[in-house]
Symmetry: C2
Subunit: 236 residues, 2 copies
DNA sequence: GAAATATTGTTTCTTTGTGAAACAATAGTA
DNA sequence: TACTATTGTTTCACAAAGAAACAATATTTC
């Protein structure tokens, strides 16, 4: 599982910010390299014979088991000193792998992607080098290696700016959800409370929701409708 | 001037969409390789010892002579077959350079940037490989090599989406301009007419314009105010 | 089984913002 | 001096957004 130099494009990687929503909080997937105490975003390399997008999809599907993932590229990080060969070296040595020279120790420019996935239906798997992968609350992340904290910041910024246009939130929810669920997704991403009545009006006005029978819920109050989002032509 | 393999990151390039505004129309800079009839965006490669952003700035300043350029990265294009080695080979051979193998014939992933510059104060210079560089009306571009037309499309899309937030338009205007000038920039970028009264109200409301004395103009009508945009702390 | 409670779905009212038109001002022209 | 073209501003109508109030209902409590 040591990466063969000839198979991959050198000096170029991708890093992914994988968002999930637990029902209350926005979370992202973080890898941990136990022996080094290093936290990192899931990332990977691009084969010489594959599309950039395909490389990212491949990596995410390996880690999450999901094939149909909402993926968006948001920025490419190219500062000269963003990558630190010493950190990579420690990670490999923490795994018992000692290599004097390797293309992986070079300087890397990295393309940032974010993904939105349904938290409930995923059981993430660590990759070959990492010992664990897990969900972390977005508002209390550990310190990540290299510039990964900045990458996360930029991902959220992009997500916020495009939340309305792209109805991204749906990718974070299960098939059926209540209006309150949807509102909580918006609130956790935007970081501010939304007015309940206006939020409902706005969402229904978009004409993308399908209303179903009422939820037979356990709450001691009026049961909310369940919604799903309409299948569109563009969906495959 | 043949690029040395050891100096540059392989398989990675940048392409730049350089916007200018002639006073009426939105234009972009296009290179032409005469002997091949090929049109292309100005682009370049990244040295192993420089920031990605610096590489792009270096390239633009070589071509435009301007150092302080508004630059924004908008997308990285990574489709496997986006670059075509045959086209590159023809360009080199058109220059009388015949090389059997060269890293420049490899597959390239390219980072797209756009720049906004003041049309009047720039006299663009072609690079080593191209015979000419010139302004083309944005709405009547020639067919460009590889995926460069798509790159331009995506640049405009990004520019439109961020026009309000970032007040980008100012980078396209001379130091002093009228409200009508500013409105024409907006209209040419957005591709639709703006209401005159509301546009003025909106722009003044942003509190970023400084109003100066009236222009002593030649028009047979009330002379318009001249404006400049306020210097901000963040400017260096 | 009736009242109480919590939350949902909707409506109403107010405020704010936007689009279009009208009005007033003025530099040059006839 | 009147006329014309365009600018700067105001007004009006309408739509959107924010806040509060009202009505409906599933469960709990008495």
């Amino acid at each position: 599982m040591v990466f063969q130099a000839d198979d991959y494009i050198p000096n170029l990687s991708y890093d992914s910010v994988i968002f999930g929503f637990s029902g209350e909080k926005l979370k992202i997937l973080i890898l941990e390299y136990h022996n080094t105490g290093t936290f990192a975003l899931p990332g990977g390399f691009i084969r010489k014979d594959e599309d950039l997008d395909s490389a990212v999809k491949r990596g995410l599907s390996e880690r999450t088991g999901i094939d149909q993932i909402y993926l968006e590229q948001f920025h490419t990080f190219g500062a000269l000193h963003r990558s630190n060969p010493e950190v990579m070296r420690r990670i490999f040595e923490g795994q018992g792998i000692v290599m004097k020279d390797h293309w992986i120790y070079d300087r890397f420019i990295s393309v940032g992607y974010y993904a939105l996935i349904n938290y409930d239906t995923v059981s993430p798997k660590p990759d070959a080098l990492s010992d664990s992968i897990g969900w972390y609350n977005f508002d209390s992340l550990p310190e990540l290696m290299q510039d990964h904290n900045q990458i996360v910041e930029k991902a959220l910024e992009h997500l916020r700016n495009h939340l309305d246009q792209k109805l991204l939130s749906f990718n974070l929810l299960p098939e059926f959800f209540t209006m309150k669920d949807l509102q909580q997704v918006y609130e956790s991403i935007l970081g501010e409370n939304q007015n309940r009545a206006n939020f409902q009006r706005k969402m229904l006005g978009l004409e993308i929701l399908e209303r179903h029978e009422k939820l037979y819920s356990g709450g001691s109050h009026k049961a909310p409708f369940l919604y799903s989002f309409r299948k569109r032509k563009s969906d495959s």
